[in-house]
Symmetry: C2
Subunit: 226 residues, 2 copies
DNA sequence: AGATGTGAAAGTTTTCACAGCC
DNA sequence: GGCTGTGAAAACTTTCACATCT
């Protein structure tokens, strides 16, 4: 989208180094960053202080060159001859991924999948705490999970406006997914994680990621069928 | 792995066309195949008989050249000037993905996530029916979901040997994931779908796909943080 | 005319390999 | 000696564009 800055002369004052690096980062790099973050937490728990790209790569199941390239898109975090400081690098990666600040998350759909996501420990561990749950089913609205009350979908807009919601998780049946996404966008939500197996169309400025559970399954089926 | 055939002269008699095509197919192609399959089912439900790569691409949100390239790795399914027959192509794609035969699936871990996967409609719709559920928790073992009894993990090996299990879904906590995977492999299971956010190490001949729910979330967080 | 199937071109991602610093 | 950071090469993926068939 935006032109790479490397050939744009720095006009209005020098920018900070760390921001200089971010030309255009691929989705796979961001995905790997998540796994580096998890691995760094593991090493930190194991009281390891310093780590080489080689050892980080080993745990991630990739090459050390890949690790260094990925990290180098964001800055120079290592020290030649030594490696990376585990705690410092963890902090940097966490910062890049936006895990140092708290995001307000709303769960749209309180069915089986919704409940599993609500209870999913890893979300909490990484600072994603589901603050609001919405559904249309009168049998569910008003009930609570772990102290969080399930609200009616009609409250999405007012809650988003008053309290602010950063991320919406769509966990409704396929047929309703697009409508629910539209309402989330209308409510001003800027990021959507979609679990319904359907292509959601929303404006470009809203971030969208989809997780399709069947696709992984079908890829296995393909592997077996060969 | 295998050399491309294009420059290998056909020596010992003509091979069948459809098998000739499969050199080495990328993971992204297989992923897109899943989405073509879903879209073709939709078109079939809409009573559309013939479809062009252009219209298929439009629904999938990609280019028509991509659709044609993907399909051409498996055979010549279209007719020039006309397009593809929806029902026939659906059958071909389903066959390629191994969706025409029934796979026996075991769910390992009967927690929240396990339950959501067990109840997940899309798996059933695509012919993946969970036949067995295993857990270690004595409070769960012996109880049943929808007529399927939860068994103790120790029964995995005998059940796999006697009844045969094609695919194991790992839905246990991170710490136990590797152990559970090892036991699945030891029981002779050839395909594993892992939901624990950890790198599982198993022999190459066992197919493994991992779905990490946090990674999609962190990718959104990254997008918001920019 | 209309749309596929496919080489060749363009673009992207990964790996190599080594200069440069600790 | 050890290990990062990074241009250049290799590998892979997507798009173009057109010959080919109905």
């Amino acid at each position: 989208l935006k032109a790479s800055r490397s050939n744009v002369p720095q006009t209005a004052g020098e920018r900070r180094r760390s921001t200089l690096h971010m030309d255009r980062v691929s989705a796979s790099t961001v995905t790997r960053l998540s796994s580096y973050y998890r691995i760094l937490s593991e090493f930190e728990a194991e009281k390891v202080e310093t780590i080489s790209s080689e050892r980080l790569a080993e745990r991630a199941g990739i090459t050390s060159a890949q690790v260094r390239k990925d990290l180098s898109s964001f800055g120079n975090f290592g020290r030649r001859g030594l490696g990376y400081n585990v705690r410092l690098l963890g902090g940097e990666v966490g910062g890049i991924l936006g895990l140092t600040r708290k995001w307000s998350v709303a769960l749209l759909g309180a069915g089986n999948l919704g409940h599993a996501l609500f209870a999913y420990k890893e979300f909490q561990k990484h600072g994603f705490c589901i603050d609001y749950v919405f559904d249309v089913d009168p049998a569910k609205v008003g009930k609570g999970w772990d102290g969080i009350q399930i609200r009616h979908f009609d409250e999405l807009q007012p809650v988003a406006t008053k309290q602010g919601i950063d991320i919406a998780i769509i966990a409704v049946p396929v047929q309703e997914a697009q409508t629910v996404a539209d309402r989330a966008v209308a409510a001003g939500i800027r990021a959507i994680l979609n679990f319904a197996p359907v292509k959601i169309v929303i404006p470009d400025e809203v971030a969208l990621r989809s997780v399709d559970l069947s696709i992984a399954m079908e890829s296995l089926s393909y592997a077996l069928a060969k």
